[in-house]
Symmetry: C2
Subunit: 324 residues, 2 copies
């Protein structure tokens, strides 16, 4: 029997999870749930679109519910709520609030006999795993994370909120010289500005004050003020032709030592589609959640708590024969 998956939220991430689940032979997408009018949602895989209100009725039809909402307001409410009905997986990424989110999910899942894996994807997620493995192996060392080149949806959204902006796409770009310094084993102290630059492509309203928009972007606190930022105004046509995709990636570098010997570890991702790769990680974690719960495990988890074998559809014997 295949693992029955439900998806709540059908944005970029929900679509990425859908694509991953349909690619996994041991999984089956039962339905997509939405807060919109279900009639307006047409899942690409042909799966049913249902109202979020109907979710409780699916209690015995879904093994793992994947929550594809945002970390700001959706997940803090949704993950604990549905953890009382389903095994759940989310990609919660508001770092400062992870302890309280973990605690809420732990309580809900524990009471219901379910498992809930939070903060899955590639960062948090695969990049977090790179950090824990490297630090555990080489305690005398330092990790560096570089993101990009890739589209930051949060930064793109921030630009779109500026008056006179019709559309925007922001690329986070790692500074090559900084990466080379780390690769050399120099263990540098790097400022925010030394690690990344930000490239913005903006479609402005006709007649908008471009100088003012550019200034507002470059001076925006938290998002841009601490970075070297470039702003280029383009047409709506150019935006559509050249900036419709959501590529991303990055690298976790770790520079460590055993006495006088240096060791450099790198884990890098080069992704054509950020949401499709993130969705693929989540689909593998959904498999692990299902299997761990079947074994009697309940409560909140992160990818740190998952033995790699649970992520794979293969048997332990097969894994030892082929991947070890």
């Amino acid at each position: 029997m295949r693992i029955r998956i439900g998806i709540l939220g059908y944005g970029n991430l929900g679509k990425g999870v859908e694509k991953a689940v349909t690619q996994n032979e041991d999984q089956e997408l039962k339905a997509v749930f939405t807060r919109r009018d279900p009639a307006s949602v047409k899942p690409a895989s042909g799966a049913a679109a249902c109202s979020v209100e109907d979710l409780p009725k699916w209690k015995d039809e879904i093994d793992v519910l994947v929550l594809c909402g945002g970390s700001a307001t959706d997940l803090p409410e949704q993950t604990p709520r549905y953890a009382s009905l389903f095994n759940v997986v989310d990609s919660f990424d508001t770092h400062a609030r992870i302890p309280e989110h973990f605690a809420a999910v732990d309580q809900a899942t524990g009471d219901a006999g379910k498992i809930g894996v939070i903060s899955c994807g590639w960062d948090p997620g695969m990049f977090s795993l790179s950090r824990i493995y490297a630090h555990s192996i080489l305690p005398d060392g330092k990790d560096y994370t570089f993101w990009g080149r890739g589209v930051s949806q949060g930064h793109s959204d921030a630009i779109r909120r500026i008056e006179g902006v019709v559309d925007a796409r922001q690329y986070t770009v790692p500074v090559e010289a900084a990466m080379q310094q780390v690769r050399s084993g120099a263990n540098p102290e790097l400022t925010t500005r030394q690690k990344h630059t930000r490239e913005c492509f903006v479609v402005a309203e006709e007649g908008a004050d471009l100088a003012r928009i550019e200034k507002e972007i470059k001076e925006m606190p938290n998002y841009f003020a601490d970075y070297d930022t470039s702003v280029e105004f383009i047409s709506a046509e150019e935006m559509k032709a050249n900036h419709s995709e959501l590529p991303h990636g990055g690298v976790v570098m770790y520079s460590g030592r055993t006495g006088d010997k240096k060791h450099v570890i790198e884990y890098s991702l080069k992704l054509d589609s950020n949401p499709e790769f993130t969705g693929s990680v989540i689909a593998a974690v959904a498999r692990a959640a299902y299997r761990m719960n079947k074994e009697g495990q309940t409560g909140a988890r992160t990818m740190f708590d998952i033995a790699p074998k649970y992520l794979s559809p293969q048997t332990d014997e097969w894994l030892r024969a082929h991947y070890l």
Copy 2:
């Protein structure tokens, strides 16, 4: 209380494990065990050197015994034998014999209530983890492992067995063009010869037939015949000055797809010392073995079975706050 570690076998790997254990604040090296005369062994850390015959007496003094012998004859005998007395970790790397080794260790540890983790290090080990994570996330894809540039001790030994050879060092070198092809997402089919070349540095006896030695190396089946191999004869002084270290490393590349989107994952290591990095992985696994056994787990394991959190000395809360 610190985790009490014992080391059996004090060659390059044993010394690497010793260095790692003394670098880990939660671990303590109780003693090094040897088949040689213990009086002739002086551990660099100042730990006691004892005869392998005394090991059973240390049953209650050692939490995890690390087996640092060779895979050909030492480990198949030693790991199961000592698994009846201690939690054990080894770096068994004879791929074809892993199923029987796993079964033997599983039986011995199971009977004794101990845990035994086999095939730890970087390949098998960290590279194996890269493969299982990548395949689990992106089932439609292919992995490629490139080794080097680094010293292969097995190939160096093979050259030393040739008549007229005093000393030898063999470097495995990945072919840059092949790596670039994989990085591009082209999913090429690569032959052995296309992936690696082999560079040999040889000290010959005075008056030895160098042409014959070079021919014997290049035509040696399994080791060199399938590769483009270069042979350079050097002096003993040059060998000592330029080839005394044991650097190694490599990269696991994975090229996968979600529909028409390509994703490339790379995990790379650049190590000043192969045995010291391998020893560091093993020390982290020894921590995991100890903790998993404390929780009641027994039997044989590989790194596929270990949730990453067990490798770290930090608490779950700390890990979520700092590495997630």
